[in-house]
Amino acid sequence: MATRDARGDRVAVRIRIGWAALAVGIAVVAVLPFFASDYLVGFFFTTFLFVSMAYGWNLVSGFTAYVSFGQMSFFGIGAYTLAILVSRNAWPWPIAVLAGTATAAVLAVPLGWAMLRLRGPYFALGMLGLTQVLAMVASAWISVTRGGEGIYLPPEATLRQLYYAGAALVAVAVVVTWAVDRSAFGLRLRSIGEDELAAEAMGVDTTMAKLASFVLASTFPAMAGGLYAWRLSYIDPASAFPAGYEVQTILMAIFGGAGTVWGPLIGGFLFTAVGEVLWAKFAEVHLLLFGVMILIVLLFLPEGIIPLLRRRRMRRRAPVGPAPIREEAA
């Protein structure tokens, strides 16, 4: 019993350390723009966008087994909605960002209804094609999107405003994921990921759960897209549907640990920190490096960093007794 108490104490300490780290992190993020250079603030802003998109991907593909390769569809919808509302109707920025998010969520309902009837490779290819088709619509629907010419926006935003908007988006993403993870809804999503047929047999309304996660997941890239267009003050089909962002988002989520609460955050920050050094040196081959890194993560770290840490801790904590049951790779 003594060891158990000691173990309990150690866990409590660890939890306290975790909360302390989180508090320090929030404090640093809050005061950073007051003393950091514009470059650093811009770097953090970009990281926020990617981390929130990684959370979006995590909600649909980390919890359920539906791998989406088309989250950039919603990024583009968010970006274009903002650009059109601001340039034509002179809407204020923050409201236009929210409108873009709402548009994406509304469009995600019929899109999700159609796409989620597909499984495995069908769903993957469907989402991959969706981004392509939307990029095409953006270049062909000239009366609304101005096609390849793109839409220029008045550069009104300050970097600091964007930075805090991005930080808030990440905070929302973490809280939403944390809430989903603890809820019955999260459990339903996980059961779909494990075995959809069995979940259905247990009485889970899989269609509703999948659709809800799809719509929820669409809001994060949509808002990120709006903020991105705001920062760029220009949007065209290539920048609204950037293929490289999809691979980067997925890489962050699986690097940290798909289906975990903290994976996208930790994976995203570690990844961009390493990346910022690497990409500057090898700008021409960064897509190739992303591709290679995906392969390396999948081969040697298939569950990501977070489950790895957790398992290590479990092993240290349980020196006697039966070995911990190895979680099956999801």
Binding site: L118, G129, Q132, V133, G291, V292, L295, L299, E328
Partner: protein, 290 residues
């Protein structure tokens, strides 16, 4: 649209459809045997095309001579990917997900590799101009040659699967992996071979495609979607289905390109794919999967 234009579009669409058929056979084969779609399929097509382009502009190699070179290169690439990447995925419930993500990674490696090697421009191989006139219709020489070559390769593949021992083993694994295993078929070896064949077919289609269209490194995904769409339209594992689906897609693209715009024509593959999946998931000529 008069009758002559209509017939001309019919001819053009069918010719393109032949190459699309070849394009989709690789994805069809790999999917049937491994239950996975190669998301880098279109990028291998693109790389095959660029290989032919490079051999032609640099060494003056005729694309028809480049065809076997492309096939060999695609075969090697596929074997390496299966042997060192996909073959290492543990066969549990997450295997499909992991394999999809892996081929997604490979796709970016190929895209970026092609950009580094051959630049970001649209390229094509102009080795043969002009056309034959038959019955008042134009048969562009390159299209006829590409169509014939695609037909020849498709028939060879069919014969291989139908009549050779290895080909039958491939089909056996596709139909019933456990049964195949019981019969003593070395499934990992068959998978390596199948994935190699799939890439070889993609590369071959690329070599033929670059004779007809201009290609650029970033357009591979469009061809992955097209190949997949043809497979879905025709039905998994069906040769006549694949051919019908390919010709249907070729015709749909040519006609929408003529009637509306080239951009809409590019999206038609996706719309067909979605429509077929929502209405008749087993494909027009495919058999129902369990």
């Amino acid at each position: 649209m008069d009758a002559r234009t209509f017939l001309q579009l019919l001819v053009n669409g069918t010719m393109v459809g032949g190459v699309y058929g070849l394009m989709s056979l690789g994805i069809n084969l790999v999917w049937g045997v491994m239950g996975v779609v190669n998301l880098a399929h279109g990028d291998v097509i693109m790389a095959g095309g660029f290989l032919a382009f490079w051999l032609f502009t640099r060494f003056g190699v005729n694309p028809l001579v480049a065809l076997p070179i492309g096939i060999a290169a695609g075969l090697c690439l596929g074997i390496l990917v299966q042997r060192f990447l996909l073959g290492r995925v543990p066969p549990d419930r997450g295997a499909v997900k992991t394999s999809l993500l892996m081929t997604f990674g490979v796709s970016y490696v190929i895209i970026n590799g092609a950009q580094l090697l051959w630049g970001n421009e649209f390229q094509t191989v102009m080795f043969l101009g002009g056309s034959w006139h038959v019955g008042g219709l134009d048969f562009a020489k390159t299209r006829v040659i590409a169509f014939a070559a695609a037909g020849f390769i498709s028939v060879s593949l069919w014969a291989f699967l139908q009549y050779t021992f290895t080909g039958r083993a491939v089909r056996a694994v596709s139909q019933h992996p456990d049964g195949a295993l019981v019969c003593g078929i070395d499934i990992p070896r068959i998978r390596v071979l199948t994935f190699g064949l799939g890439s070889a077919l993609a590369a071959a289609a690329g070599v033929l495609l670059v004779m007809i269209f201009a290609i650029s490194p970033s357009m591979g995904t469009g061809y992955t979607v097209r190949s997949f769409a043809v497979t879905v339209i025709g039905g998994l594992g069906s040769f006549p289905g694949a051919l019908a689906g390919a010709v249907m897609l070729g015709l749909a693209e040519v006609f929408t390109g003529y009637l509306f715009s080239a951009q809409i024509a590019n999206g038609i593959a996706f719309l067909l794919f979605l429509a077929v999946l929502l209405v008749r998931p087993q494909g027009l000529l495919g058999m129902k999967r369990v």
